[in-house]
């Protein structure tokens, strides 16, 4: 099957997410769509999958122009999609999830569950997946859930398979396995469109590469091109992929976490006897696949995690059991992983967001009265020094791009007298330019002589930024290693295999 996108244009209001995009996917070929977050990759695929309607251009399948009114029609035409956020229903079984939308039935619309199981087993065996059709999806590990998602796409006999950022949630091992599955699918004659921003994966698996930037195709590339070449195409300028930092000037271990154990609201253990120390002037990275207790660890430090026991000491002072305000006043800077939910009040202005944590004290408040003039001066200064691109300090936080939102958060957190900086996935979803800036700020914080704790899910970021790397798995720290540790070993740790 040959799928052609011709001049696809998609607008959201004034914003053009896709501008005259051309793309060809042919059977027996893996076509990578490379681009930064927000470049318009997912929009394009949602147009292709019938979730969005294009404002211009056409989709041509085997020479015939086609219009998909919805995902159902795209599926019927042989297009399958493995979504970035799995489209699986956690409380349903594998079989139920797989057949949803095209259920085998007996008389009167009764489900043919045996046939559903059979279908799952058949595909599962063909790819060596070993999946129990009666397992409840919510109980399965993320990697297995993704396989269910793949089976779901294959069951309707898809000829074109779209993988939307499929490796975001996988361990390095699972990623390798996924690459293997993609090759196998290719050998079966499927056309594969692989959307990603990870250069390593592109170079490993792609037959063709199309790079898009700001909604436009900027060109084709070859898998043999260097990472720097691909990155500069993606970003539109020369980029330096390494983090620029001097050797750490280590001081005393002023931040100590001991025997930290925490339970979720449902009663399961989310932190299991976590202990580590961070020295002044050191970046301590906590790596691991998302959802292995990192969020809970960060929230425990800040004091918003319930049911925690153990000890968290900053310069000899116990933080555990204190209120969030008290923790912040002790000199903890916190950059949350979800900046729009936890880091900012989206409908507040930049200026208001910059004083969220200090709205009750000088210089921003005098008694019960806010000192707006002082605040505005402060905000103007930060706008300049952090290069926050906004119309004014009165722009609402929600109007900013992700990178600029993160700059507001950093400006606020770093403008206090810090004794510790905790940043959870500080570069998640940012463009390469903003990532460079955020990394610089973090290194600068380290060099000012405070301990820094970074939670990273991208292995490259962990090893480039960190002076030491701890790997978390199922709430435990399974190893604390040097950033020079080979990737394979880190990958093993991330899968819970301790050295």
């Amino acid at each position: 099957m040959r799928l052609e996108l011709k001049g696809i244009t998609k607008k959201f209001g004034d914003f053009t997410a896709n501008d005259q995009i051309d793309l060809v996917a042919e059977s027996g070929e893996i076509h990578c769509l490379l681009g930064e977050n927000g470049a318009g990759k997912s929009t394009l695929m949602n147009v292709l999958y019938g979730l969005y309607q294009a404002d211009g251009g056409e989709i041509v399948l085997d020479g015939k122009p086609t219009v998909f009114a919805g995902p159902g029609e795209a599926m019927k035409a042989g297009i399958g999609m493995v979504h970035q956020h799995f489209m699986l229903i956690p409380v349903f079984t594998v079989a139920e999830n797989v057949i949803l939308g095209h259920e085998p039935t007996k008389a009167l619309g009764f489900l043919d569950v045996d046939k559903a199981r059979e279908l799952v087993r058949e595909i599962s065996e063909r790819f060596g997946f070993d999946i129990d059709p009666d397992a409840v999806v919510g109980d399965l590990p993320v990697g297995v859930q993704q396989r269910v998602e793949i089976i779901k796409a294959l069951i309707s006999d898809a000829q074109v398979l779209i993988f939307d950022e499929p490796t975001a949630v996988l361990t390095p091992q699972e990623t390798d396995e996924l690459m293997q599955i993609m090759r196998q699918l290719k050998d079966e004659g499927k056309a594969i469109v692989f959307i990603t921003h990870k250069l390593r994966e592109v170079k490993e698996v792609a037959d063709k590469i199309t790079v898009i930037r700001l909604g436009k195709v900027v060109g084709q590339a070859k898998p043999s091109d260097s990472s720097e070449q691909l990155a500069s195409m993606m970003v539109g300028r020369e980029v330096d992929l390494s983090v620029d930092k001097q050797p750490a000037q280590l001081g005393e271990a002023s931040f100590q976490v001991k025997n930290l154990t925490a339970f979720s609201a449902q009663g399961s253990k989310v932190l299991d006897d976590v202990s580590f120390e961070v020295q002044r002037g050191e970046i301590f990275v906590i790596a691991g696949v998302q959802g292995n207790g990192q969020t809970e660890l960060a929230e425990s430090i800040l004091g918003i995690q319930d049911k925690v026991s153990g000890s968290i000491k900053l310069e000899g002072k116990e933080l555990l059991g204190r209120s969030v305000k008290n923790v912040l006043d002790s000199g903890v800077g916190f950059v949350p992983e979800d900046r729009t939910e936890d880091g900012l009040v989206a409908d507040f202005t930049i200026a208001e967001n910059l004083m969220l944590d200090r709205s009750d004290r000088p210089p921003f408040a005098k008694g019960i009265q806010l000192q707006l003039k002082k605040l505005h001066e402060f905000a103007e200064e930060k706008l300049k020094s952090y290069d926050i691109r906004a119309q004014s300090i009165f722009s609402k936080a929600r109007q900013l791009s992700g990178g600029n939102q993160q700059k507001v958060v950093l400006a606020r957190e770093l403008s206090r007298d810090l004794k510790l900086l905790v940043a959870s996935q500080p570069t998640r979803g940012l463009d390469v330019g903003s990532i460079e800036f955020v990394h610089e700020q973090i290194v600068a914080a380290r060099d000012s002589g405070i301990p820094v704790v970074i939670i990273a899910t991208e292995l490259d970021e962990a090893t480039q930024l960190g002076d030491r790397v701890a790997v978390m798995y199922k709430g435990k720290i399974v190893g604390i290693v040097s950033p020079e540790t080979p990737r394979e070993e880190l990958g093993k740790l991330m899968a819970g295999i301790s050295a």
Binding site: L51, P71, G72, M75, M87, L88, T105, L108, G109, L111
Partner: protein, 409 residues
Amino acid sequence: MKQSKKTPIALMLLLAVASLIIPNVQGQQLEVRVATGTDLFPIPNIILPSQGFVAVMLILMLAMTALSVYLTFVRNRKTPLIAVIAFGFGLVMTVLTWLFSGATMGITTLLAGSLALAVPLIFGSLSGALSERVGIINIAIEGQLLAGAFTSALVASVTDSVLIGIFAAMIAGSLVAAILAVFSIKYLVDQIITGVVINVLIIGLTSFLFSTLLADNISILNQPPRFERISIPLLSQIPIAGPVLFNQTLIVYLMYLAVAGVFLALFKTRWGLRLRSVGEYPKASDTVGINVFRTRYMSVMIGGALAGLGGSFFTLGQVGAFGKEMTNGAGYIALAALIFGRWNPIYAAMAALLFGFALNLQYALQIVGSPLPSEFLLMLPYVLTVVAVAGLVGKVRGPAAAGKPYVKS
């Protein structure tokens, strides 16, 4: 993972309450009448020594509590549902013995009455199940019941036909559901607020029409024919079960069908699978080509039709005429039954039966003259609901997308 300690603690508390009852059991014996005139063979009344029977029940409760404590604190395991049910049985028997000791307890009439009272609750909870399983929180069950009650009285009076009456009730119920659906699906209004507003609207509307229309023309507009009792040959002659289950009115038989039908439809058919997927994760349903909006409208309106049917019980089954606000909160109890029954039609129906039993008990007690004020028993369904929602019967988790409008991006 640690087990929740709620169950053993609750059992211990209830046991303490039950043991307070023992010294208060008056009278020597409890006479239980099982037989009715239509039984295949006669059964003598069962006579139980009150004190002894209560003692046996107390031992049963004690054993179940001990088991729960042992499992939770020593073995770190869950208390099985059957133990909780056995405890509940013991508790109910203890209370019944206390209340009826020295008098005769007609068990068949008590149960048959309970079943009848549970009918609107069951239909209401089915409406709730169909609505919430598809992701729309249904506080408007009360309004649906009331609209059904009013419409069936009016239409059945005018046409002199019970069947046309219940048909009209179904239409009225689904129209009320349609208001809920439009506001929550199309206009994205908060579903709980919409539901409450609809209830107020329907109460006002029916009361207004009642005073301006029905009250002046009672003989034409508010004197509907009533459901006839239909006894099913042979089945109705089985002792206890026969008169309770198979000597009932049309609407009760319809209720059996509805419970089984909704259960099968929800869990065994393609339609139900899609419906539940929409209630859990509508975006996932959308990406496999399921029309989320149509599924929601359909399910909510079918639910409304069932609740409307249930509403006709009040007028055509029970009272024989419409009265202001005659549903009297049944919709909310149905909602409680739904949660108690964990959004499963069969469990919800059982919960509704329990509530029906509690409602009927107070009528029975007024006749025997019991030591307990009847208002106290009226509290029972609500107490049970609080207990249920607090998680005594395991983790209560509704459909994930309930209450959240789906917006296509």
